[in-house]
Symmetry: C2
Subunit: 167 residues, 2 copies
DNA sequence: CTTGCAAAGATATAATATAACATCCAGAGC
DNA sequence: GCTCTGGATGTTATATTATATCTTTGCAAG
């Protein structure tokens, strides 16, 4: 038995559906409005487990529309979703990914596959947040007052390690 | 006694000079060419202990020139300096900062002050690299093969904590 | 001296993000 | 129902960051 998320051969519709439902609950509980647009953007971000660029969202949003949406439309929605902790921004990719644990605020710890770009969030795994403590302690010891953090590891996900062996 | 770097009231010319000298040694030892342009860009990045944008470097580089330099000039120099480990890129700021410990390759751990933007690299402090181990272990335990990392903490540096108390 | 190659110059454009102002629309209070 | 208000969205323009591509330069080995 494992808590590992299987990114291949899973029913991703379930991921999306669950994420949207939880987002609705969270926003309702906080008195925030998950409007149709914001919901749609969230759904598009959840389209895969790979970070998606703002302009990718924009393109998906505009597909089949008479008038394509403009960048601020997407960026505003993404800002809202970030404020609510529903998506994270991956700084090293200028891209966004859905948060699978939006209930509690946390700093993200991400594992980004260099090959397939599938990205997994570690922060809320068992010991996830705790793993930051040594760094925080070191920062504290220099007198720095930490308020936010960004941790992004790049490498190869299990699936791509196998593929690499093939090649 | 402390190993803490004092960023205020220090002779920054010494920092710059030392960085340039060490860079020259490193490049020579590796058979890499620290050309005049690359050296100048490195010096401009070292202009302060705050990350500096590529276009800031570009502006400084062009000041007083007949023809201003073009972006690729700066980006190429920065790419070279990054490859040699002489500067780091701060992803959350789209900016660059001189590495104070370029002799050995390492992942950067940065403390970025939200107020004055002064940025300090922790990676090579005592226990710096080691502080990443719990995260690496966690990543390993998921089967992820880490090849690179990015750690950026934001908050308030000691000096700005005092100022904030004043205000 | 010429040839080969890395570095730098030059031009154009791609990709990401925000500023500023106009309009819309849902809900509160009358 | 009406109107007022404030947040959300639309619209236009532009700022900021980064790269592709081709040309030219300069230096060093043969």
């Amino acid at each position: 038995m494992t808590t590992r998320i299987e990114y291949t051969n899973h029913d991703h519709d379930t991921c999306i559906h669950a994420a949207l439902e939880r987002a609705a609950e969270i926003c309702y509980a906080r008195g925030q409005r998950l409007t149709a647009l914001r919901k749609q953007v969230l759904e598009l971000v959840w389209h895969s487990h790979k970070p998606v660029g703002a302009y990718d969202v924009l393109a998906m949003l505009s597909k089949g529309q008479d008038r394509p949406a403009a960048p601020p439309t997407v960026y505003r929605a993404l800002d809202f979703l970030q404020e609510q902790g529903l998506v994270h921004r991956i700084a090293s990719l200028n891209a966004f990914i859905g948060c699978s644990c939006p209930d509690t605020p946390h700093v993200g710890i991400f594992l980004i596959c260099e090959k397939c770009r599938t990205t997994r969030e570690l922060a809320h795994e068992v010991g996830g947040e705790a793993s930051l403590l040594p760094i925080q302690d070191l920062a504290d010891s220099t007198g720095f007052q930490t308020r936010g953090a960004l941790v992004e590891l790049t490498g190869l996900c299990p699936a791509c390690q196998l593929e690499k062996a093939d090649a």
